[in-house]
Amino acid sequence: MNAAEFRELYETNRAAIHSYFVGRTDGGTGARQAAADLTQEVFLRCWQHRDRLTDMPDDGRRAWLFTVARNLSVDSARLAATRAGVQRALTDDPAARPATVSAPASTAVLAAERAAIVGAAIARLPETQRVTLAMAAAGGLTSAEIAAALGVPAGTVRYRLSEARRALAAELGTYDDEKEEER
């Protein structure tokens, strides 16, 4: 595998791998950089073992990438747990809640605050739901793609997504477009 082929593999899978790590961390404000570090590690190992991947089909390559990603996430589980604890401590502190800020804020600041609140709510989801939701929302993957990447049935993915959305809508006090469409 040369650099051009590696770039194609990287561009095809980077969003999926990164969103997987976003879900495996905590989905909070620090998730982006932590996931970026782990994504870099996955593709670095891929580059180092590119000879092994040369004759592999695309599905096999993606499966190999997610196997490495799962192993890495297990290795970093302790770090993630620490980060989640800090995140929970911050969000439980009334003084640190963005919603309590009374000073006038711009639209961008309000959007960032809203995103932080959503991230905190996502961080409280069970990990299986969080990973699935992150891969769908941040990675833009379909249920079938998520199912293939995680090695679970597509029905399970759809159920996890539905449960995650229901929990989020209840916690955030928003309405769920998909539920409205079903009615």
Binding site: N2, A3, A4, F6, R7, Y10, E11, R14, A15, H18, S19, V22, G27, T29, A31, R32, A35, A36, T39, Q40, F43, L44, W47, Q48, H49, R50, D51, R52, A111, A112, R114, A115, A116, V118, G119, I122, L133, A134, A137, A138, R165, L168, A169, L172, T174, Y175, D176, D177, E178
Partner: protein, 121 residues
């Protein structure tokens, strides 16, 4: 605000940007370029067999990392800066000639020559 709006706003804050992705890609590929060998198949493959000429040993070393793995088109040239000299346009890494005399024998002699010597009290 709907849940999809909330999720889209959150996803925008955690999604890997194209700029960050490009930085990661370049870091990975350039790290591989400067590493001695990405993944040796076996330990013996790293040691040139004795009795060969210096040229053969040198070619044996560079065969582990062929230049064809990095086509010039894969690395577009950085934009030229008026403040930088032409020296910065040279490719990254050491020139192959830098390693010409860096054989195992030379390394062994260098280690021996720089070893601390016990001095009598």
């Amino acid at each position: 605000m709907s849940l999809d709006d909330d999720l889209a706003a959150w996803a925008a804050t955690v999604r890997l940007t194209d700029a960050d992705a490009e930085v990661i890609f370049r870091r990975i590929v350039l790290t591989g370029a400067t590493a001695p060998a990405p993944a040796p198949a076996s330990a013996s493959a790293q040691v040139p067999p004795a009795g060969r000429t210096r040229r053969a040993r040198r070619e044996h070393t560079f065969a582990a990392f062929p230049a064809t793995a990095f086509p010039a088109t894969a690395f577009p040239a950085a934009p030229a800066s008026a403040t930088l000299s032409s020296a910065t346009s040279a490719p990254a890494g050491l020139a192959p000639t830098w390693w010409r005399d860096y054989t195992r024998d030379f390394t062994a002699r260098m280690v021996t020559a720089t070893r601390p010597v016990r001095v009598a009290a």
